[in-house]
């Protein structure tokens, strides 16, 4: 344990970090589900002249894409910094 002034303080900090780690992992697991949902939405659009224009559809689909990439990058960055020096979190219950 790192040299902390109080014995309890670093422990609480670590636990909180582990907790955060788990929730980040949950978020990473949820991300493709969100993406799948968002990309399924076009199925409900009406086709033909009544539906959205192609440029609108393109904007939506690529917007989702960019959002997913950004969220994925953020989650993996956060996950990576949190995990350093802590070894592999192999003990988690897999899906």
């Amino acid at each position: 344990m790192s040299a902390g002034p109080g014995r309890g303080a670093p422990l609480v900090f670590l636990e909180r970090r582990t907790y955060r780690q788990r929730r980040l992992r949950d978020a990473a697991r949820l991300l493709p589900v969100v993406g799948l949902f968002a990309w399924t939405v076009p199925l409900f659009w009406p086709t033909g002249p009544a539906g959205p224009t192609t440029s609108g559809a393109l904007t939506y689909i690529f917007g989702v894409w960019v959002a997913l990439v950004c969220a994925g990058a953020l989650l993996s960055r956060r996950g990576a910094t949190g995990e350093e020096g802590r070894g592999d979190p192999g003990g988690d219950a897999g899906p």
Binding site: G35, W39, G51, T54, V69, G72, A73, S76, A80
Partner: protein, 895 residues
Amino acid sequence: MTLNALVAICLSYVVFLFAVAFVAERWAMRGRVRWLRSPIVYTLSLSIYCTAWTFYGAVGAAARSGLEYLAIYLGPSLVMIGWWWAVRKLVRIGRSQRITSIADLISSRYGKSNLLAIGVTVLAVVGTTPYIALQLQSVTLSFEVFGRDAPGAGAGEPQRLTAFWVAVGLALFTGLFGTRNLDANERHHGVVMAIAVEAVVKLAALLSVGIFVVWGLSGGVAETLARIDASALGSWQADGGRWAGITFLSAAAFLCLPRIFQVLVVEAGDDAHLRTASWAFPAYLMLMSLFVVPIAVVGLDLMPAGANPDLFVLTVPLSQGQEGLAVLSFLGGFSSATSMVIVAAIALSTMVSNHIVMPIWLRVTGDGASVSGDVRHVVLTARRVSIGCVVMLGYLYYSVSGGGGALAEIGLVSFAGVAQVLPAMLGGIFWRGATRVGAVAGLSTGFAIWLWTLFLPSIGAGGVISPEILAEGPWGLGWLRPQALFGIAGMDPLLHAILWSMSLNALAFFTGSVASFPTPLERLQGAQFVNVFQHSAGPRSWTGGVAQTEDLMVMAQRILGAEDALALFAREARRQGVRGDLPDPSPDFLETLERELAGSVGAATAHAMVGQIVGGASVSVEDLMAVADESAQLLEYSARLEAQSAELSRTAAQLRDANRKLTRLSVQKDAFLSQISHELRTPMTSIRAFSEILRDGGTIGDGDQTRFASIIHDEAVRLTRLLDDLLDLSVLENGQVSLNLREGTLGALLDRAVAAASAGEGGATLRIRRDHAAEDVRLVTDLDRLTQVFINLVSNAGKYCDAQRPELHIRVGRAEGRLIVDFLDNGSGIAPEARDTIFEKFSRVADQKAGGAGLGLAICRQIMARLGGDIRYLPGRSGAAFRVELPHEVALAAQ
């Protein structure tokens, strides 16, 4: 631009790629792998997903059917963004089990079954061959675009020649850089680097064309969007079923395509690579598809009505006189095609050589695995020949099919084929109940349905399936129509095929798994795969002790090379703590060795090779029971050890006791020696003194003379008695005494003993309690000797009992058929530490007390031993207690 200039550019690009691969290999050899193994290179290598099909075909698909092409990119994006679900587990399994290909994964999971490996290999070859043909076709087509105006270029033979030379070049490159090392788990740095460069080239090419189209031709983003909406593609018209179906199919294919599996799993680094690729690869795909619609729309606008939309990426810049851009675009397409063919050839050749060629070769040569001689060249040759075969098979398909059909459709057919592996793969890594039978059932069902409903019809109307069968079904069986199974007609053929093949595949897989019972090895592997994060240790699949380490060494040398094999064996020997270079063939070692070999020749072959030497080719229930037996034996053995150690400590305690006794005896003996010399000396002194007085005469009265004489006599008697005792004891100890058997009663013996003891000591003070009725036992024994024992005991009680009113209780009884006579007094008894020496010679309870020589009890013990009985001290009584035991027959014989 002339065709020759293009060929020159093309060749110099190829030379550049060779140089990149060569330099990368050089760097890797010098250990500068840090940069080569960066996450970016890993991500770029994944881009072989984007083949010439997506490079050219996406624009074509967009021109034909709007935004549907996007679905092909959405599936892989979702898979990579969701890497926590499946990809991470696949990569971990790939690393811990040293998986070399997707066929190896499936075979390894289902009990290292070679049948499954062959099945998946065949499926992969069948599914990939059209795809390779497609790449050759796209390169040829793009050449044709440039060569159209050039003199001497036409259709037919020159096209085929182009395709042929491209194929030869690719086979050469792959053979050179794809088989540098035997261990498929080691990264092919050269190839990976070349692919990464190609990934950059194709992205740059497509982005350049897109930027040219948007800003150069349309005048900006807003204008481009307006142009899109005004075009024929202006409104949303995607077919929902195809959208969902293709998304699913591309996601499935991304996991199952042999070439993707090669870069995604086999050449994977670690979690950090995956972490970066999880968002960077979707970003790459997004960029690749970003300008597809604008290019398609502008192409439809600018190009004449009959132009092939698949080639807009090339023809739009060309039509605007942008030759440089067109060449870049051409190189992008060329890169897409070549990188796909290279990796696919590596992946397929690994599968073919490991799962088909090597098993056959091992069987045909028939000399077993333990013959010396390096077989690495055999494996490498097999792999190189396989590469050539795979590429040439693609060329053959291309030249036979004549290059027909829309590019995208061939790609999807191929996707649907390899996706048949998905149920067995996902089931294998998430469900422990998945069995080999289920996997075989699912794979063959899916493969058959795919062949019938999609692959054979896709070859064309003039191909295997005639139009009549297509319309009526085989033998008039309408429900078997290839594109309307079970009478459900009117569906999109692709969707129809995916629906039936995947659902029936999954159903057969599940049913087969549930209904069958896995072999022990399957169950072990299943646990290994499903719980890969819990325990990374391998399965204990070998029972050791049977294999000969030297044979294993010989075999390992053939696969790994002499030095690597020696190093491995030495390392294992050190780990086991064995002297020398040959480790014991422990299960641990065998498993490590097998895994090392699996990295080179695949799990099934490695298992078979080790099996040839070890004995049983797989773990049977008997083996498992033997292991269980072994552990039971170990338990028993350790229990025995414990018992032995307990016995040892008991013996040690006894030895310590004996030692204590000896020490005490030695001390006592010293004391006795001084005592006995004193005992002998005292009477001798008085005898001498009085005899000297008598001899010298003088004034001695008669009374005195008589008294002196009697003193001399008494002392002589005492001496004699002492000497008698010593003599008696030595006679008894030497066993020279002969018994004088006579008949008498116990009571009479005791009477005599009590009388003699009382007379000797003159001690009327000792009260003796007896039970005369019980003493009426007839005996046949040496009565005199037995009386001697009794006398000794009674007189001892008289001498040593320290009670106020000394009392001796003589009790007669029987125990276990033996006659027992107890002598119990009411004194303070004998101290515990003295009890074990009282029966020894020269032993006396207290020095100086009562003046005995300390031989009485020793004589008693010798006598009782002669008579077949025993004399013991009874502990736990308040006073001294001696028990005399007489044997059964002594008492019985008289009755």
